[in-house]
Amino acid sequence: MDIIFSDCSVRYGERTALEPLSLRIEGARLGVIGLNGSGKTTFARLINGLSLPSTGRVTVNGIETSAEPERARTEAGFVFQNPQNQLIMPVVEEDIMFGLRARGLKACAAEERAAEALARFGIEALARRRVHELSGGELQLAAMASVWALRPRILVLDEPTNQLDLRNRRRVIDAIDAMPEDAVVVTHDLSFAAHMPRLLLFHGGRLLADGAPDETIARYHEIAGC
Amino acid sequence: MTTRDLALSALFAAIIIVLGLVPPVTLGFIPVPITMQSMGVMLAGTIIGAKRGALAYIIFVALVAVGLPVLSGGRGGLAVLMGPTGGYIFGWIVAAFVSGFLAERLVREGASEWRQLGGFFLSSVLGGIVVLYAIGMPWVTLAAGTPFSAVAWGSLAFIPGDLLKAAVAAIAARSVLAGYPLLPQRA
């Protein structure tokens, strides 16, 4: 991936969610940590144009998000913190198909693509299951599959291992590791963050640390005071 | 229609369905249980506004029409729409719109609690009772042939219950306005 933040800041009315930030992200994996409300989700949402910068700009693989938010969204897929609210059709397969059909794919091509996505995340068995009946881990994998099926070059994952049991956490991490696409992972899961090649720490809307995971995590413990 | 409008309307329609699936609940100050779904039309307009409230009911009525048992008591299908009370069901769409239209104009965000409650109550009564009956009663006459005056007299029996529902809807609408205001952002 090649993501460039140039002097980018985000304000909601009076409140500053992200102080001016200049940064270039390359490589296949990036981790982002920080306390609740530190600006890390805002940072993540900027990458696929879900939030637009109040000043400055963000370019994702050469696409400026403010100029072409829709293209930015096809370039970077976003898996939300609560996968429950991301799956919008009653049945898993229908949900994946709906996204593909909305992009103009013919039914048979979409079916093929959906099957491929289910296989990629090892959840072929969930195809006909009702979204409402899925467990936390299954929901997370299904949400990832539905975004992956749209073939983004980058996946942005907001707390993908949140609230998962040990076994499902392992499944989700393995699935992320195995993805050939680039990934930006926002997480509170420090042992997962520890094996990212590069880790950012946000605090109070500011980028506080940027570098190898052990240094960034040490800094995080410092500011959290524990 | 923004995506947010569609999502709010669709989920409000889902709330209306759920209110028909759960058993009637008592109000507290009187021991009579009420079917919560029948308050939906007052709630929809006053909480998410005229346009989105009407859309929620278009979705709901369409689901009745395609044969899903989404009306309280598991009713649904074209027979209900073709029956003598079908006018009330189609009327919900207009009633939700009118309740919302009035609430958007009568209720101001900074106003005192009592003024807001009064505005919501008036909107619910005019939209959810006056307009609804104005559509529902002639339909009964048209469909079943019962003389209008008889239908109108008979309908009077439902007015006290409806006024009570309007009061409950007004309180609910106010608490949502205080907790998560959606009405002022007119869609």
Partner: protein
């Protein structure tokens, strides 16, 4: 959880397309208003009732499904007998009974998917007018049905929370939180729909084979 009132079967009405049945029902609704011959209305009623009762349901179940409508109808017809001449009351009664049975027959013999296809067709002119984007109708219906079980679980959870705190379950203390929580969810759902680009095919899908490597 929400299953359609459609009944599987191979009767003659099952083989007619949804559009034809709905158009037929609409035409019957108009035409019957001009029919005042008792015998003709009786024939209509007989045919409609036959169509419904042979759709594949037991007679008991078939009547149970439309019982609330039938009861309100019988009540109105009884009122009519007092207020109207016998002949008029009979014409009105036969006419609406025939329509109710015909409508129930259409519902029982048309699968949900076919009904939805008709709804999509009805929505198409609105897309042309730019009031809706292509696929919006399917999206909103899907959304609505998808979240019914979620909201029902939320309702149960709120009831539990009342009990856990020793509160009586009351309309007002349930409705507010139920609606607020659901509408907050709607906001998240909306931003997820935009993030996934689920509305309308504004651009052709990129055709490069990115995953093949």
């Amino acid at each position: 959880m929400l299953t359609s009132l459609y009944v599987e079967g191979r009767g003659p009405l099952h083989r007619v397309t949804a559009g034809t049945k709905l158009a037929g029902l609409a035409i019957a609704g108009v035409v019957l208003f001009f029919v005042t011959q008792l015998w003709l209305l009786a024939v209509f009623l007989f045919l409609a009732a036959l169509a419904y009762l042979t759709a594949g349901l037991s007679i008991r179940e078939a009547l149970r499904r439309i019982a609330p409508t039938l009861w309100s109808l019988l009540f109105l017809l009884a009122v009519n007998l007092f207020l109207l001449p016998m002949q008029d009351a009979a014409v009105l009664g036969l006419r609406i009974l025939a329509l109710v049975f015909a409508a129930a027959a259409v519902t029982a013999t048309t699968p949900l998917a076919e009904m939805m296809a008709v709804v999509d067709r009805v929505a198409r002119p609105l897309e042309k007018l730019n009031l809706l984007r292509p696929g919006d109708a399917g999206l909103t219906f899907g959304l609505c049905l998808r979240f019914v079980p979620d909201i029902l679980s939320r309702y149960e959870a709120l009831r539990e929370a009342h009990r856990a705190r020793g509160l009586k379950v009351r309309v007002l203390t349930l409705l507010g939180p139920l609606i607020i929580l659901t509408l907050k969810q709607a906001d998240e759902v909306a931003s997820a729909i935009d993030a996934r680009g689920l509305r309308g095919a504004s651009k052709p899908f990129p055709s490069s084979e990115r995953h093949s490597s």
